[in-house]
Amino acid sequence: MEREALQAAVCELDSAVRPLDENADRAAVIVEASALPAIIRRLRDEPEFAFAQLLDHVAVDWIDRGQFELIYQLYSFKHKHFLSVSVLVPREDPRVPTLCRVHPVAEWQEREVYDLFGVLYEDHPDLRRLFLEDDWIGFPLRKDYQDDFMLDRPR
């Protein structure tokens, strides 16, 4: 399926899905946080899409807009196509439902994003720090993170 066709087909799934302009050669959509697990599950199960693997989960801190963007990269072995699904959550209270029940690898990837951004995943079975110690204060990949050890380089 071509990029535009795929994007249109995914958007027809639910009213919570909208197309997203991305400067890449892959289809991209944006989804409302509450509808995320249901939509990812349908994308996995419906043979038309068959997005079997969650390749990657990335978070971006858009500090000027006061939002975190959570991006899920999906891949379909059957149709050989990629899809990127974005969710926007407010920076003050970043919460999103977990995808562990749909893609077990999400448990691992979500722990990384929790560790570095502090995004809370509802219903995650084992939400812990992944790289940092359990008693670490703050979330290092946030743009406003400050640490005594950080180099204050002239820019």
Binding site: D21, E22, N23, A24, D25, R26, A28, A52, Q53, L54, L55, D56, V58, V60, D61, I71, Q73, F77, K80, F82, S84, R95, H103, P104, V105, W108, Q109, E112, Y114, L116, L120, Y121, E122, H124, D126, L127, R128, R129, L130, F131, L132, E133, D134, D135, P140, L141, R153, R155
Partner: protein, 386 residues
């Protein structure tokens, strides 16, 4: 809804209480952070019942260097050089992955000479990486000779690559817009010599390890990972192909000049440690084939299309690009705000997801099998921690 954030201590305390039978006593053992078979600083917290592994909890972060955060304060040219410290056995492929992402985002076209040389070097490095893995797998299972054999042949290839690249481990060769340097005048000739040298050596590998009964017994039906679990747990590369999923970016979404070469993608059937072993040994043969086909057709041209040190600016937006390294897919995510530094840079490292497959693979098996299963994953820990 309240969300509970737990700690490792709580997790261990919680797991100490459950499924305890009156006859046995379950206990926890730390394997690592400095265990010879983890090839780096990986700590596994194992819950054991006698010699059986009930749970295997990886604990990461012992060598976390925050490469993603550092990248936010560097221009794209400099970001490339951090990546060969991640998976140091796929350093050129890591360089290429970032360069490819930057080139796609900034709209830089490179000529076919660059693409040919990049592909050849990537395949040579895949061989190099698998040579080391092959020797180390033997050593993990108690055989020292394979390690010497693997290193011996790796040295021969190292010499060939060093002549052009100038380094033997963290090789910086690919950069956005081209290559660091042109290939050495001796390069083509010496690679041909290497292919002639290494083909019989691969048969020797088979005699030494592949057809060895002890190795077969230690790997067959150990750490079985079904195709479905492999997909759900995010495995890529030889781990995924060992489980029977014929997915290889080089074939399914060709980059470089992989569409010019004729090669096969080895695929396992059972998904045990043996299949992953066989897939890698076979991949070495296929990589030799690819190099052999491309070597005589390197077209003339420049090795750099864009001037060095020029600060590349990427249009605003989000970009994602991926490349098949020796261990699986390396994904590069760039969020740009029009500056010459990335607003956010993220690496999807193949080992990170492959390690996650360890628990389903080893649950209920002996602790001795864990060593073989982990070795067949071919983990490089700095790539997980980044």
């Amino acid at each position: 809804m309240t969300i509970e954030v737990s700690s490792l201590k709580e997790l261990v305390e919680q797991a100490s209480g459950d499924d305890r039978s009156p006859d046995t006593q379950e206990y926890f053992v730390n394997m690592g952070p400095q265990h010879p078979s983890t090839h780096g600083v990986l700590r596994l917290v194992l819950k054991l019942d006698g010699e059986r592994v009930l749970r295997c909890i990886p604990v990461l972060g012992y060598i976390h260097r925050s490469i993603e955060k550092i990248s936010e304060h560097m221009n794209y040219m400099n970001c490339v050089h951090l990546t060969d410290r991640m998976d140091y056995l796929s350093s050129i492929m890591n360089n290429w992955a970032v360069s490819k992402a930057v080139e796609e985002a900034a709209g830089i076209e490179v000529n076919s000479r660059i693409q040919y040389i990049r592909t050849i070097f990537a395949e040579l490095e895949r061989i190099q990486s698998h040579q080391l893995w092959w020797g180390v797998l033997g050593m993990d299972l108690g055989a020292f000779t394979p390690f010497l054999y693997g290193i011996r042949d790796r040295e021969v290839l190292n010499d060939v690559m060093e002549e052009t690249v100038g380094a033997r481990l963290t090789m910086n060769y690919v950069l956005p817009g081209g290559l660091m340097a042109d290939i050495h005048p001796n390069f083509v000739h010496r690679v041909k010599e290497f292919i002639k040298y290494f083909r019989p050596k691969l048969d020797e590998y088979d005699d030494l390890l592949t057809n060895n009964v002890i190795i077969q017994e230690r790997l067959r039906n150990v750490g079985v990972l079904s195709a479905q679990t492999a997909v759900q747990y995010g495995a890529t590369g030889p781990v995924l192909r060992g489980s029977g999923v014929a997915f290889d970016l080089r074939k399914d979404h060709p980059y470089g000049v992989y569409d010019q070469a004729d090669f096969e993608v080895p695929v396992g059937t059972v998904g045990d440690s043996w299949d992953r072993y066989w897939v890698r040994v076979e991949e070495m043969r296929q990589s030799l084939n690819i190099v052999e086909q491309l070597l005589d057709n390197i077209p003339p041209g420049d090795f750099l299309v864009k001037k060095l040190n020029s600060k590349i600016k990427i249009p605003e937006g989000r970009y994602y690009s991926q490349l098949e390294t020796a261990r699986g897919i390396l994904g590069v995510f760039i969020a740009s705000d029009k500056k010459d530094e990335p607003y956010r840079m993220h690496y999807r490292s193949p080992n990170f997801n492959n390690l996650w497959c360890l628990e389903p693979m080893i649950k209920g098996d002996y602790i001795a099998s864990l060593i073989g299963a982990m070795s067949s994953l071919d983990l490089v820990i700095p790539d997980i921690d980044r």
